[in-house]
């Protein structure tokens, strides 16, 4: 990676998911590629959307353009559908940021699961394994709402996808 491309990645580390603003687009794992032109005046960024209907996707593309606008004359953002995004691409930093927010992070083993059968390992508040689903669809497309039957606290679970 050239120093200049590394700079583009650094700029992208400040583009946050508008719905979960502790996660950058790099933490989410949606940036697949960054290519600079030889004269370093233009840059092409390839992203893979999280969910088909996620309203954040268009905002993220706009935010990527804004973040790079000061450093490049031309910015192209390509959307690449294949391979489809998976929570396995989320960074360890991203998982840790979710945990600090009280959101159970996906376990990074999407390929091994049976669809819809995954569950949070433990309550993020008290660590109890006695947890149950309240609603399969939460405040954003990527999350479900769960609760702990030991400490009674509800919590968000970032679904394995």
């Amino acid at each position: 990676m050239t120093a200049a491309v590394a700079r583009a990645w650094k700029l992208l580390a400040h583009v946050m998911d508008p719905e979960i603003p502790v996660l950058s687009v790099l933490d989410l794992g949606i940036v697949r590629d960054v290519v600079e032109s030889p004269d370093r005046r233009s840059v092409e960024v390839t992203v893979t959307p999280t969910y088909s209907g996620c309203p954040a996707t268009e905002v993220i593309v706009t935010d990527i353009r804004s973040a790079l606008a000061a450093s490049y004359d031309e910015i192209e953002v390509h959307v690449q559908l294949l391979p489809p995004w998976t929570t396995d691409w989320m960074s360890d930093t991203g998982r840790e940021a979710l945990r600090e927010l009280g959101i159970v992070a996906p376990n990074g083993r999407a390929v091994l699961r049976i669809a819809g059968s995954d569950r949070p390992d433990a309550c993020p508040q008290c660590g109890s394994h006695d947890v149950e689903e309240l609603a399969g669809f939460g405040s954003t497309p990527c999350k479900a709402l769960w609760r702990c039957t030991s400490c009674r606290e509800p919590f968000d679970y970032f679904k394995v996808h």
């Binding site: 969910y51 088909s52 209907g53 996620c54 690449q80 559908l81 669809a115 819809g116 609603a135 399969g136």
Partner: protein, 225 residues
């Protein structure tokens, strides 16, 4: 009727795009009006995924807004069941599991499509659809094998929707649905022959749905946020 004639053909991209689009719009009609707040959110989420899937496929066929907002109702080629009115929650959930089981087979087939964008939409949609199906299946089981009243409504929904299933009963669909209905303790009807009258009956519902969906874009062409 021979067994093979009871198997519907796999749909083309346009039928799936239109089906996802119209079912998405139907589901949005529940938002703010669902039995619980969790269902408001769930049905809104389903609608968003379906809208995203429809947009992906429409973009393969042409300009998505043009196709969604400026085609006339008779030019849509969705399976009739996707545009049928919501009815009560039992009917909405039974319709959903019927369509989710169809889409599961469709996305699996589209994973090998000639068009790369179709393959991409399908790969993403397959994961989303599995989650939708888990939800619709759970409700159909809960209502079918529930109280006397919930079961009564589920059986009414089955009577109403079954004639529309001939269009979506692709290879593997009947087995998938039998599995759901058996768990819901609901009798599995014989395969439905294609029912032109039932399908035609949905045409008026589709016109009414599109009138609502297209009214803003048609009143203000080119409007943006």
């Amino acid at each position: 009727m021979s067994p093979t004639s009871e198997i519907a053909q796999l749909p083309g991209v346009e039928a799936v795009a239109d089906g996802c689009l119209l079912l998405s719009h139907r589901l949005t009609q529940w938002v703010g009006d669902a039995p619980t707040m969790e269902e408001d959110v769930a049905l809104g989420n389903l609608a968003l995924d379906l809208l995203g899937q429809a947009r992906g496929l429409l973009s393969v066929l042409g300009e998505e807004d043009q196709l969604a907002y400026f085609r006339d109702a008779d030019d849509f080629c969705n399976p009739a069941i996707c545009a049928t009115p919501n009815g009560d929650f039992a009917k909405t959930m039974l319709r959903q599991v019927f369509v989710d089981c169809w889409l599961e087979l469709v996305w699996a087939a589209f994973a090998g499509h000639d068009d790369e964008v179709v393959r991409g939409v399908a790969a993403k949609a397959a994961k989303e659809n599995a989650y939708h199906r888990r939800h619709s299946r759970a409700w159909v089981v809960r209502l079918g094998d529930g109280t006397e009243e919930s079961r009564r409504r589920m059986l009414l929904a089955l009577d109403e929707l079954w004639p529309l299933t001939a269009e979506i009963a692709v290879s593997g669909w009947r087995e998938a649905i039998t599995d759901v209905l058996v768990e819901a303790t609901v009798p599995v009807p014989a395969a439905a022959p294609r029912d032109e009258a039932a399908i035609a009956g949905c045409a008026a519902a589709r016109r009414e749905l599109l009138e609502e969906m297209q009214s803003l874009a048609r009143a203000h062409p080119g409007a943006t946020w």
